[in-house]
């Protein structure tokens, strides 16, 4: 096998708890209230051009979580990725947030920490972060993550209702009226809405730009499913997609679903724009 001498790839995983085969524990406050920051690493070892943020091992079934990742000294944390979503189905270990790949630059020597809120009081969630090094031919990391559609009141996202006709696209739900920043990399996350008793179902989701009544589909038929025994919509997070969405853009989403149950057809959506 040939290993490139110029790429100099390098990885460092921070926050792992090898004694318990899990990650750093974050503990939420009261329901839908952020808890204290938990330190993931005191000082990163090298310049990172990206982060892979992984959640798992929650404290209870059927909870929604929103996580802030921050840099800075204890008490002076600055959020760099806000309200990353994860959800649990039938079991605390069903969380399917397989990883938020955030192509942002983090210099060596940075303290990373994270905090969580949940739809359940004092819920816990574990986190590890894989720091991605880079070489001469790797594009430089971007600088900013902007979250759209998070609903801190229920630790979820923006609700999409596919409507009462199966296999037919429902109404668009506005995620943001006007994007704050341009988007170069877009991560889409889906929320389970803390639904403890889901019906087996399939979804196709459209993401669109444009004013209400004149939306233009940007990404069509993103496929989701949910098994009635797991009670969890999957996948929860999609890898970042290269896009070119200017600031000031309205973003909306709609979906079609294989069922019409008034509750179980509902899903949440959140977007993370990186520029």
């Amino acid at each position: 096998m040939d290993w490139s001498l110029i790429e100099a790839q390098r990885f460092q995983t921070v926050g792992a708890d090898t004694a318990a085969s899990t990650g750093t524990t974050m503990t939420g406050g009261a329901a839908n209230t952020k808890g204290a920051y938990a330190e993931v690493v005191a000082s990163t070892a090298f310049d990172a051009h990206g982060l892979l943020v992984i959640f798992s091992n929650g404290s209870a079934s059927y909870l929604d979580y929103l996580v802030d990742v921050a840099v800075g000294a204890s008490g002076l944390e600055t959020i760099i990725a806000e309200n990353l979503h994860a959800g649990a189905g039938d079991g605390a270990q069903t969380i399917d947030a397989t990883g938020y790949l955030l192509p942002i630059f983090i210099p060596a020597g940075t303290r990373l920490s994270a905090r969580v809120q949940s739809s359940g009081a004092s819920a816990t969630l574990r986190i590890v972060i894989v720091l991605l090094g880079a070489g001469f031919i790797t594009p430089p990391g971007l600088g900013r993550v902007t979250t759209y559609g998070a609903n801190t009141a229920d630790s979820g996202g923006t609700q999409i209702d596919p409507g009462g006709t199966a296999h037919t696209k429902g109404a668009y739900s506005e995620i943001v009226a006007s994007t704050t920043n341009p988007i170069r990399q877009l991560t889409i996350a889906m929320g389970n809405m803390a639904n403890a008793l889901r019906t087996t179902a399939l979804w196709l989701v459209d993401l669109a730009v444009g004013a209400a009544g004149a939306e233009q589909v940007l990404i069509e038929n993103i496929m989701l499913n949910c098994g009635g025994s797991v009670d969890l919509i999957q996948p929860q997070v999609f890898p970042p997609l290269g896009v070119n969405i200017p600031a000031g853009t309205r973003l909306a989403a709609r979906a079609q679903c294989s069922i019409i149950d008034a509750t179980d057809r509902l899903i949440d959506i959140l977007l993370y724009g990186v520029d």
């Binding site: 109404a171 506005e174 004149a214």
Partner: protein
């Protein structure tokens, strides 16, 4: 910013909810002003052309399935032969065995798996 429910004037079908609406509106579409973004507990009623309270979710007890669903007549024959006290003991044991799976969504099958 104000919120609007854009819907089809002919069918009442909801097309979009948002704060930024098309200008001009496409033919056969109208933007109904809303007090606020509709709550997650609300659903669009195409007939009334307004948001109404979403119907409450109703779960089904698999223990009730066992004693009422004709597909489990053999179980019911044995169950009905028990004394009331033993029926309760059996129900308690089944409830422990099923755990969270005791209840199912109305659209889910009785059988697990």
């Amino acid at each position: 910013m104000a919120w609007y429910a854009v819907h089809d004037t002919l069918t009442g079908r909801l097309i979009s909810i948002g704060q930024v609406i098309a200008d001009p509106m496409p033919p056969n579409q109208v933007a109904l002003p809303l007090v606020d973004r509709p709550a997650d507990t609300q659903v669009w009623d195409e007939t009334l052309r307004q948001f109404v309270v979403r119907p409450a979710k109703v779960s089904v007890d698999r223990l009730q399935d066992l004693v009422t669903n004709p597909a489990y007549s053999e179980f019911q024959t044995a169950y009905n032969a028990l004394s009331a006290a033993n029926r309760q003991r059996l129900a308690d044991a089944l409830a422990r065995l099923l755990g969270r799976a005791r209840y199912r969504a109305a659209g889910e099958p009785v059988e697990l798996g």
